[in-house]
């Protein structure tokens, strides 16, 4: 009992000693945090493309993207091929006109053998021999106009967005064909091709895709409009979920065509820099799991960011930065596709992120909700 008492007393002494060593030493430093808010230096504005709700301070946005349908022409097989085709077989007499038009966007292009992708083509038979009037894409920001009797014409065009393509073949005189290429409703190139006066000219077919193999790509086609030599208009917007136009198509391997929910790359939101200093901006996206393929990116007047990429889930979660100069705009783009079996709407939760260029001192995040469907 005595030893136990000694032990208790000893432990108490140790405890008191520890307290005397460490306790009671508390040092206090004052810290003040002042908030002096400012008006938002960067504000949103609607693009006019889609119904958009902008928050009262223009620092948030909800965008309702209409899920239109389009034809997805895909070739994911370097040994496969797909050609979407409609046989026409109409004679083009002197004074006749035939044209084909559709909206096209090509993406995910790989072409190690350089065979290209035909964005649009008319096969014209002259006295039974086939001639092809084509718009090719080989990569980069240009397309190639190819036709009979003329060198290939290279036409520079921004291929990060869709374009309205039109080829018109007319016969202004018995011995001449006039071939005209239009991009976004503007004449891009035209020339005349001499033919025998008594030549039998037949508009044989219209097509897209590529017969040659070894490439891989996605091609989206919408709003097809064909003017026959008799002036009859045939159109197809795929909104019934069925392709009633390219009825003579063929494919092999992992390639084909299917009608899907689709939006061509379009501006869905603008951001304006109200400040005089330059900001760097980008988009980031929250995790998502849905049967959808999508990309989002940002552009200023000279540069395009890398893309957010989604294929059933987020593959790349943020874009690279582009600069937003004082008083200038940046443009936010989207490109979304989903199978017709997808349950809509699909909601994308993004954030527009900006910081003072050359500094990571302050970073500002604005929420953006994109509803597809």
């Amino acid at each position: 009992m005595r030893y136990f008492s000694y032990l208790i007393i000893f432990l108490l002494n140790v405890f008191v000693l520890m307290l005397s060593l460490h306790a009671g030493i508390f040092t206090y430093y004052p810290v003040s945090v002042f908030l002096s808010p400012v008006a938002p230096p960067v504000t949103f504005a609607g693009s006019g493309t889609y119904p958009t709700f902008i928050g009262s301070a223009n620092t948030s946005a909800v965008v309702d993207v209409v899920a239109n349908k389009a034809l997805h022409v895909y070739d994911y097989d370097v040994g496969g091929r797909v050609v979407v085709l409609r046989t026409v077989t109409q004679s083009l007499a002197s004074g006749g006109i035939f044209s084909i038009q559709w909206v096209a966007f090509v993406t995910n292009y790989t072409d190690p053998s350089g065979v290209g992708v035909i964005l649009q083509e008319i096969q014209v038979n002259i006295d039974g021999s086939p001639y092809y009037v084509s718009i090719y894409y080989y990569g980069g920001n240009q397309v190639y106009f190819q036709g009979p009797g003329t060198p290939t014409y290279v036409y520079p065009v921004d291929m990060s967005v869709a374009h309205v393509l039109n080829i018109t073949v007319s016969r202004p005189a018995a011995n001449r064909l006039r071939i005209s290429y239009y991009v976004d409703n503007s004449l891009a190139y035209t020339y005349d091709y001499s033919i025998p006066r008594r030549a039998a000219v037949t508009i044989y077919s219209v097509e897209g895709g590529r017969y040659d193999t070894s490439n891989a790509y996605d091609l989206y086609i919408d709003d097809v409009r064909m003017r026959s030599v008799t002036g009859v208009i045939t159109s197809e917007d795929f909104e019934d979920g069925v392709d009633n136009f390219f009825v003579n198509s063929y494919s092999s391997g992992n390639a084909g065509k299917v009608v899907v929910y689709y939006t061509f790359p379009k501006i869905f939101l603008l951001a304006r820099n109200n400040d005089t200093k330059t900001y760097a901006c980008k988009l980031i996206i929250s995790p998502l799991t849905a049967p959808v393929t999508a990309s989002f990116y940002v552009r200023n007047s000279t540069h395009t960011s890398t893309s957010i990429k989604i294929k059933n889930s987020v593959i790349v979660g943020e874009t690279s930065e582009v600069l937003l100069g004082g008083g200038s705009y940046t443009y936010m783009y989207l490109n979304i596709t989903a199978p017709l079996t997808a349950s809509l709407p699909i909601t994308f939760n993004l954030q527009f992120v900006y910081r003072v260029y050359d500094s990571d001192g302050v970073t500002v995040y604005y929420p953006i909700t994109v509803k597809f469907g």
């Binding site: 508390f26 810290v31 003040s32 002042f34 938002p40 009262s56 301070a57 400040d275 500094s359 990571d360």
Partner: protein, 196 residues
């Protein structure tokens, strides 16, 4: 007569009591020696102190002459504003590798948030490896538990995250005029006792 005698007796007793209690004063000598030292914990400016803030302002970080007081001024706008690496907490007590200090942050006066525009206001502390070791809510008063220890020659980095609702706001005006919070950084070589 009896009453007079009683009164006299009571006065006598009172006088006696006062004699007994008075004039007994005992004095022990106590010496308090102050031997000030340089502060072992000091503030310093973070990488982004003085960098450009939104519009024409800068991220304001100022310290007292001994780096033992700190004032931070930031200029957020609507939505989420993240200020990174604006202040550093340094343990400069390198006399002994065991000279570590535990640190706590006390919010004495929270942001007033009078119109409820601020939906989130956090002061975040990270160690040199980037690990978050504290999130201090600037909207409520209170004291964190002891953090650390902050080892000799160690550094901790301070970020601030402010989220302001845009409800009722306007693109041409600031969300509100100003607001402030008063805090204390508290440190101690022990973490057994809480700071008073």
């Amino acid at each position: 007569m009896k009453a007079e005698r009683k009164l006299i007796a009571l006065l006598a007793v009172a006088a006696l009591v006062s004699i007994v209690n008075a004039s007994v004063f005992v004095y022990y000598p106590i010496t308090v020696n102050l031997q000030p030292t340089q502060p072992p914990i000091i503030f310093s400016k973070g990488k982004n102190a003085g960098e450009q803030d939104l519009y024409g302002s800068t991220i304001g970080v100022s310290m007292g002459s001994a780096n033992t007081s700190l004032t931070i001024t930031v200029h957020p706008t609507y939505q989420t504003n993240y200020y990174k690496n604006i202040t550093v907490i340094n343990n400069i007590d390198s006399s002994d590798s065991s000279n570590s200090y535990y640190v706590a942050i006390r919010v004495n006066k929270a942001l007033s948030n009078s119109d409820s525009k601020i939906t989130e206001a956090k002061l975040l502390i990270f160690d040199s490896s980037g690990t978050n070791i504290a999130v201090v809510d600037l909207l409520t008063t209170g004291t964190t538990s002891w953090l650390g220890p902050l080892n000799a020659n160690g550094k901790w980095f301070v970020d601030i995250n402010i989220t302001i609702s845009e409800t009722g706001g306007s693109p041409g005006s600031a969300p509100f005029t100003s607001d402030s919070a008063s805090l204390q950084l508290i440190y101690s070589p022990q973490n057994v006792e809480s700071a008073p």
